[in-house]
Symmetry: C2
Subunit: 345 residues, 2 copies
């Protein structure tokens, strides 16, 4: 697509010149820009195409008001994890007098055209994407309207131009696996998150690296991917723990997944940590309370959300970001669910 | 206050007559109505007083647009509980093409003037209050602007004129306690929610009623109140379970509180349910996964939130509600954490 486009016009297009070029009224161009649905799809496509070819940008920033709103969109409303993100965002926005419009994509990783239209129509100060991202044309639609956006915990290798706050997932995978290997485990399984999400692959790479540096080989049948929720942990846990050559330790992709593994272990009569070690990921508040309290990797979700919100408010004020990609530090939290393997001297 | 007010003027006041009466400009009255902060507090108080005395109401509804927003305000962002409410709201609003602006009061049960000003300024279609309520003057401020509101799971005996969706807490308390008494327990403790919240007292009343109908006396030292979060369950659980005459069963105010009780029991070497039965409240998704899986009272949080959202959207469209107070049904979910007491034949 990109290569076949005509050379970009100088960035001097106005709504009027776009309307002339397409042969529609100024009002129609304006409707498309504002995400209104009362434009015929074919007309809309031609206007979009012209806007993009002419690199149309709004001339003036939205007037800042005391009632500024930002949009926070989740891939999914998922357990306490999403609540931690909301707490981090809210701490910053309530201090700044900014409202937060929250939505979810029902598990999808990119928003629908309908969702984007609603955002364009309400003109937020900016948009925070959590574990989801925009397609390239969607990014252009927001950019045209000078609506900045920041991604929290990116699910894909987004381009360097998209401001992103995450945490060091590779390091998290390394720390968790090192801990298990140092305890003496030699058959360690990983159930990471979904395979199409970057953080899952980064953690699996850290898992692999920890084995490499210890001179150990990874059994590929012990590397699993699944959703971050409890049932995936339960299902993979059951499969792994009913094998004759079952692992002595499991590194789960989230604390919720780890709870599913713990349930599978209980049903099979395996004691944690005596017969099986389990590590979670995230360090949700609940991880400290379950039995056994979960050894886990702390992912500073509130800080990640707060940092991203500050970046977004800076962008909305026209402040240049000093850096567009921040990864916060992950760390190992040792609690009760890990111990040396049963046959360990 | 109410008695000393002069008789209400007929509801014919306009912004102009209010401005005349107070001796300020129309713009100033308008600013007060719209929650703007750039009005001197003394002037604002006089305008508020005149608006209230004249029973001022906006003449016309806000134009409905495709970009309608409603406000959802929580007493607190509290674990998976708040997430369940959000899921219920979002299922209705996303189908209706309505955005949701979410905020929390940081544990307070009534919003601050600043919070209300922000809401007045953004003019939502309506406001959903979760486990919190407005003071009488705050209600008047919203009513003046024709912004409807609905309360989910009220924390107080709100007047019948405030539309409210809750669940039958008294019945929940009764069902949980009956279950324990029928299993043979005779020393049953209750840790309810905060004492100043209506649902906590309703559950405690159901607990009392179940004892009464079984001809049993409640030991008042076994009736506790605390926050809905885990640490309150842990603290009360420790106190109750280290007594020489410890209860054989504990009915907790939430699933999170029950997890705190389970942790206290583990630390004291008490097995659940062999040595101690525990019942939670809410039936959060996580309750089914912890060990032992929690017997609990199902509170249909998503349905409550969805019903309240439908009511609010009806009110915003000017539809009369057929009923202003709905309590959904609670039910007992028996899982693994309850059994007959240890000395039971």
């Amino acid at each position: 697509m990109t290569e076949s486009r005509p050379p970009a016009a100088p960035a001097s297009a106005t709504i009027a010149t776009i309307a002339d070029e397409v042969g529609v009224s100024v009002a129609t161009v304006s409707k498309v820009l504002n995400g209104r649905s009362d434009v015929a799809p074919e007309t809309r496509a031609r206007v979009e195409e012209s806007l993009e070819r002419n690199r149309y940008r709004r001339r003036t920033k939205r007037q800042p008001t005391s009632t500024g709103q930002l949009d926070l969109v989740f891939h999914e409303f998922d357990s306490e994890w999403a609540m931690e993100i909301m707490r981090g965002v809210e701490a910053v926005t309530s201090a700044a007098g900014v409202g937060v419009t929250v939505s979810q994509l029902g598990g999808a990783h990119s928003p629908s055209a309908q969702w984007l239209d609603a955002v364009l129509a309400r003109r937020p100060l900016g948009v925070l994407f959590v574990l989801c991202h925009l397609t390239e044309p969607q990014q252009q639609q927001l950019q045209r309207q000078l609506i900045p956006f920041v991604v929290v915990d990116t699910d894909s290798a987004t381009s360097a131009s998209v401001p992103t706050v995450g945490s060091n997932n590779w390091n998290g995978g390394l720390l968790a696996t090192r801990h298990l290997l140092e305890l003496g485990h030699r058959r360690v399984a990983i159930i990471s998150g979904p395979q199409d999400v970057l953080c899952s692959r980064a953690r699996a790479a850290g898992f692999q690296f920890a084995h490499d540096e210890a001179g150990l080989t990874v059994d590929p049948t012990l590397v699993r991917y699944g959703s971050f929720y409890v049932d995936a942990g339960y299902r993979h846990g059951m499969e792994l723990l009913t094998r004759a050559d079952r692992p002595t330790a499991i590194f789960a992709g989230s604390d919720m997944q780890a709870m599913g593994v713990l349930r599978a272990a209980r049903q099979l009569g395996l004691r944690v940590p005596e017969d099986l070690s389990v590590i979670g990921y995230d360090n949700l508040p609940v991880a400290a309370w379950i039995g056994p309290a979960l050894t886990t990797i702390n992912q500073p979700l509130r800080d990640m959300a707060g940092t991203a919100t500050h970046m977004l408010l800076d962008l909305a004020r026209g402040v240049e970001l000093s850096t567009s990609r921040i990864d916060l530090v992950t760390e190992l939290i040792v609690r009760e669910s890990t111990a040396p393997p049963p046959d360990h001297p």
